[in-house]
């Protein structure tokens, strides 16, 4: 029977009351007396030499308080990359300085080279227009292939546009080459994983505040991880001691990765606040969001799959060029490498995997992790080449996958790409998918489509991903410069309600609802009496924030550990109150009782006692009831899934309509099925968007052609079908206390190849010899492919 509270209950999201009634507090909603406005002067050319910047006319304009240029930050540090990647030859990656404001050169359209602080936004905008910048336009480096061949560079001091040339697993390279050379059959596919603009509903916004009396700074900012932002600003960019800097990320309207990173605008508002002794606010407009939020994906890949006569996979070999844009954003070097290469064995027992990734600087916006981050790229390459192979060798695509699946008795399973999968059952997911998607009814639906003049296709996909992004030990080996644990403090207040301070940050995920379900279940009390505190470094323990589907698996585990400590201490207090021994105290439904007796005290009585410790055995028990735990798991978590999709293609126009989309996922245990379903829905929307419509286009001069919603297509409700979502076949994670795996990115990882496979199936069913179409499969592209076939 479904529960109505605690773990497993589909509780509605308590934060939605605030969000849906306009009572959210987003950064831009915060208004401070005496606040002034920052507006940035941004490059209109993709590559240019800054010859001079004359701010004198601008400085004399009404309301202008200060103007900053790159010169002002020449002495401070740069914004670093969080992962050090070594090239195949052992040399470290090239890591150019990323300054607060461009200095010497501008490197992409939108690169900020000056900032005006004025009394009002209008005045600041006017003054920005009056800045006379003499920027000599240089030839733009846009295309990755050209970039690698070019004799001029995004960063002159590096002398190459290649950031690194990484191999994984380098020791398998020769054996993989050999296996491919000798294989019975090799399927080859060249594909593009299209660049995406993150498009969070709330644009970035930062407010800098400085108190000269205490020398303390406060930064309100749109962040997914306020402690990481503070660490970067303190330790690398500005040198403000952490005890003098509070970073607060209040309600944040979506991030999808783009708000993980520290951006120069955050440093600028802090520097300006100090200089002026005023609160300084900057809010991005939508154009700035398009031009400067870290974009996602952008890989150009060649993948080969070697098979034997029976269809057993022998090896996957991948060569990828990954665009990192003009500067290294914080996770940009991890995304195409360890979040991608390590997944290139997929759900399969393939013995050999080799991945080569060349990261390339271009005069485009920085590219970094975006919902799924590397795993969508891996899944897309694998699941497309497997589908192509199935057609080439004449085997059913589901059978070919099943034949090569890791089987349930093989866990823990060491994949050929270097990960240890802890649990799963891919055949069971496939069975469930075929059932809930009514695969058996497909042929009948195909006939109906045909009667309407439409081609119906069925596409399938199996994915595995690594999330719950942590183990510090493992990511440290892989090049991470930070730890990826998380932390929680559970504070029981005197009257029995709880505040739970967490390092994770909720910007759409529903933590305020889900974490109390866990704590409430453990304590046997109403989750409504428990509140989550997040986003404020002065209130929460030093956690690492939310991305990589890590909140519940990592921070939730810290919450469990802290709650266990609370239970232990509360039992001691109860034992004291009941004059019994701790070992005899039992907790059930919020009541502590002495085993085998009717003596008991309620949770609330224990809480009160903790703070009114009259007659307390102070030598054994401290007053108070508050515990902190840091949690660092033993491994990633490995959600997996079987997806399918049915599309209808209009052969006259090339228009694709997704008719049915089924996602069967193994997320391990599920705390709130409604929240999980919502996360899957969002991910599917983004994945279908990537597959069909989202197209980030730079022209050869490095101008972003798709810089507004007039040209960048976001998927809309009528582009999307009703989804069939099933997470009933979970296999608990074996190494975290909740047995959970992480569900935030799965939909965006699993859906793109599913959709593409379905379109190819539709076209082939119509007699078109089309084997691949690059995403987004716009009507135009599908029509062109049909006509060239």
């Amino acid at each position: 029977m479904p529960k109505d509270t605690g773990i497993g209950a589909a509780t509605t999201r308590r934060e939605d009351v605030r969000f849906l009634t306009g009572r959210g507090q987003y950064t831009d909603d915060i208004q401070t007396q005496g606040e002034c406005a920052a507006v940035f002067a941004r490059s209109t050319v993709a590559n240019g030499k800054i010859k001079s910047i004359d701010t004198s006319a601008a400085a004399a304009m009404p309301g202008v308080l200060a103007i900053f240029t790159g010169e002002d930050f020449a002495e401070v540090g740069g914004n670093p990359a969080g992962w050090l990647i070594n090239s195949r030859d052992g040399t470290p990656m090239h890591e150019p300085k990323r300054p607060v404001l461009a200095h010497g050169k501008v490197r992409h359209v939108g690169d900020a080279y000056a900032a005006v602080i004025a009394e009002t936004v209008q005045q600041a905008r006017d003054a920005v227009e009056a800045i006379e910048a003499d920027i000599e336009e240089l030839p733009a480096i846009v295309n990755m292939k050209d970039a690698l061949a070019a004799d001029h560079y995004v960063h002159d001091e590096i002398g190459t546009n290649q950031c690194f040339d990484w191999g994984w697993i380098e020791d398998n390279r020769a054996a993989t080459d050999e296996a491919i050379k000798n294989a019975h059959h090799v399927t080859t596919l060249e594909l593009v994983n299209n660049r995406l603009v993150p498009n969070a509903m709330e644009p970035r916004c930062s407010i800098g505040h400085y108190n000269p009396g205490t020398d303390e700074y406060i930064l309100h900012t749109t962040s997914q991880n306020p402690h990481l932002t503070r660490l970067l600003i303190s330790a690398f960019v500005m040198g403000i001691p952490e005890n003098k800097l509070t970073v607060i990320a209040p309600d944040v309207g979506g991030g999808f990765g783009s708000k993980i990173y520290h951006y120069g605008e955050e440093a600028l508002v802090l520097a300006a606040a100090k200089k002026l002794g005023r609160t300084v606010k900057w809010t991005a407009d939508r154009t700035e969001a398009f031009l400067t939020d870290a974009h996602g994906r952008d890989h150009v890949t060649k993948i080969e799959l070697a098979l034997d006569e029976e269809g057993n996979f022998l090896a996957f070999r991948t060569e990828t060029m990954a665009n990192v844009g003009a500067y290294l954003s914080n996770f940009s070097t991890a995304t195409p490498t360890f979040l991608h290469g390590t997944l290139m064995a997929g759900n399969y027992t393939v013995p050999l995997v080799y991945v080569n990734v060349k990261a390339v600087f271009t005069n485009t916006a920085p590219v970094d992790a975006y919902r799924g981050a590397g795993r969508p790229e891996a899944t897309y390459s694998l699941e497309r080449v497997i589908d192509k192979a199935a057609r080439e060798i004449g085997m059913d695509p589901i059978e070919l996958r099943r034949k090569n699946f890791v089987k349930p008795d093989q866990y823990p399973f060491a994949s050929a790409a270097g990960l240890e999968y802890d649990s799963g059952n891919y055949d069971a997911l496939m069975d469930q998918m075929e059932k809930v998607a009514d695969k058996a009814g497909f042929e009948a639906r195909r006939k109906e489509s045909k009667a309407k003049g439409l081609l119906r296709g069925f596409g399938v996909n199996a994915y595995i991903e690594a999330c719950g992004i942590a183990p510090s030990n493992l990511v440290g080996v892989l090049g991470s410069r930070v730890g990826l644990y998380d932390a929680a403090t559970v504070r029981v207040n005197a009257t029995g309600n709880l505040s739970v301070m967490v390092g994770a940050h909720s910007h759409g995920q529903g933590h305020e609802t889900v974490f109390p379900q866990v704590v409430g279940e453990m304590l046997g009390i109403d989750p409504q009496s428990i509140d989550i505190v997040h986003g404020d470094t002065s209130k929460i323990p030093f956690g690492m924030g939310t991305y990589g589907s890590r909140s519940l698996a990592v921070c939730g585990s810290a919450v469990v550990r802290a709650t266990e400590k609370i239970i232990n201490k509360a039992k001691k207090i109860a034992a004291h109150m009941l004059e019994a021994s701790d070992a005899d105290i039992e907790l059930k439904d919020g009541v502590f009782s002495v085993a085998g007796t009717d003596k008991s005290v309620s949770f609330g009585e224990v809480a009160l006692k903790a703070y009114i410790p009259h007659n307390f055995p102070l030598e054994d028990i401290e007053p108070g009831l508050e515990e902190t735990a840091f949690y660092d798991p033993a491994n990633f978590t490995y959600p997996s899934g079987a997806y399918c999709c049915e599309v209808e293609v209009d052969p006259e126009t090339g228009k694709v309509r997704v008719d049915r989309m089924t996602a069967v996922d193994d997320f391990g245990n599920v705390i709130n099925p409604m929240v999980v379903t919502g996360q899957v829905h969002g991910g599917l929307g983004q994945g279908i968007g990537q597959a069909l419509v989202e197209n980030t286009t730079y022209d050869e001069d490095g101008q972003l052609l798709s810089a507004s919603y007039m040209d960048y297509t976001m998927p809309r409700a009528d582009d999307l079908p009703f989804y069939i979502v099933d997470h009933s076949k979970g296999n608990p994670c074996t190494h975290n206390p909740l047995g959970v795996k992480g569900c935030g990115e799965a939909g965006a990882i699993g859906s793109p190849p599913t959709v593409v496979n379905a379109v190819i199936d539709a076209l082939q069913s119509g007699g078109k010899n089309v084997t691949h179409i690059d995403m987004p499969m716009t009507s135009h592209r599908v029509w062109s492919a049909m006509n060239n076939a």
């Binding site: 209008q122 905008r125 126009t653 419509v693 798709s706 919603y709 007039m710």
Partner: protein, 262 residues
Amino acid sequence: MYAFDIERPASVADAVAALGTEDAQALGGGQTLIPTLKQRLAAPSRLVSLSGVTEMQGVASEAGNIRIGGATTHATVASQVGGTYPALADLAANIGDPAVRNRGTIGGSLANNDPAACYPAAALGSGATIITNKRQIAADDYFQGMFTTALEEGEIITAVSFPVPEKANYQKFVQPASRFALVGVFVAKYSDGVRVAVTGASNEGVHRWSAAEEALSGNFSADAIADLSVSADDLINDLHGSAEYRAHLVKVMTGRAVAAAM
């Protein structure tokens, strides 16, 4: 946005007078103009709002024509014209989203003459008459290339008069991001012949497809155009579709419009 003054005249005469001042510009529903101002791409010193001019509002039927005031919103056309000219009502009902339809006006759309806009196809495809404060302009003379019309400085579209056809239909194949027309085709059958107007496709803006008109005037069925082809010369080639694709869509959408006409 730059600062500007705004005036709200109640009559066409007052509006024309207000537009006589330097750097003044008419404001219809603002669905094109306001985003342009926000981007600081235009700097009128004075906006003259036409929304309070009652004589420019509303829909009236007169002797085989339907007359729509220049400041009438798309939503009003969508809800009030369906009985007399369903193809026109459908077209209006599929412009933008509810907010755009509740603000945007037919006069603003025709004055702007965006090469991918819908109303220009209806006006040209119906052989409508554009009525201004000064004169009456036949649609064939009015549209003069993308974003270019016969309107003179300060001239206001006060109404548009559409001859009601026997049958008509508008097929819009949307540009997926903006949902304007990647290619839109308006087909209208009158007793004296068929008119076919194409929007979204051409560097020259909205235009008639005369070969199709001829073929359809003889035989109003999709088969009649089966042997025609559309040249890709001078068609728009952009990130949403090549000239060849647009040429192909012109024919497909024309066939579908004929089949759907009622």
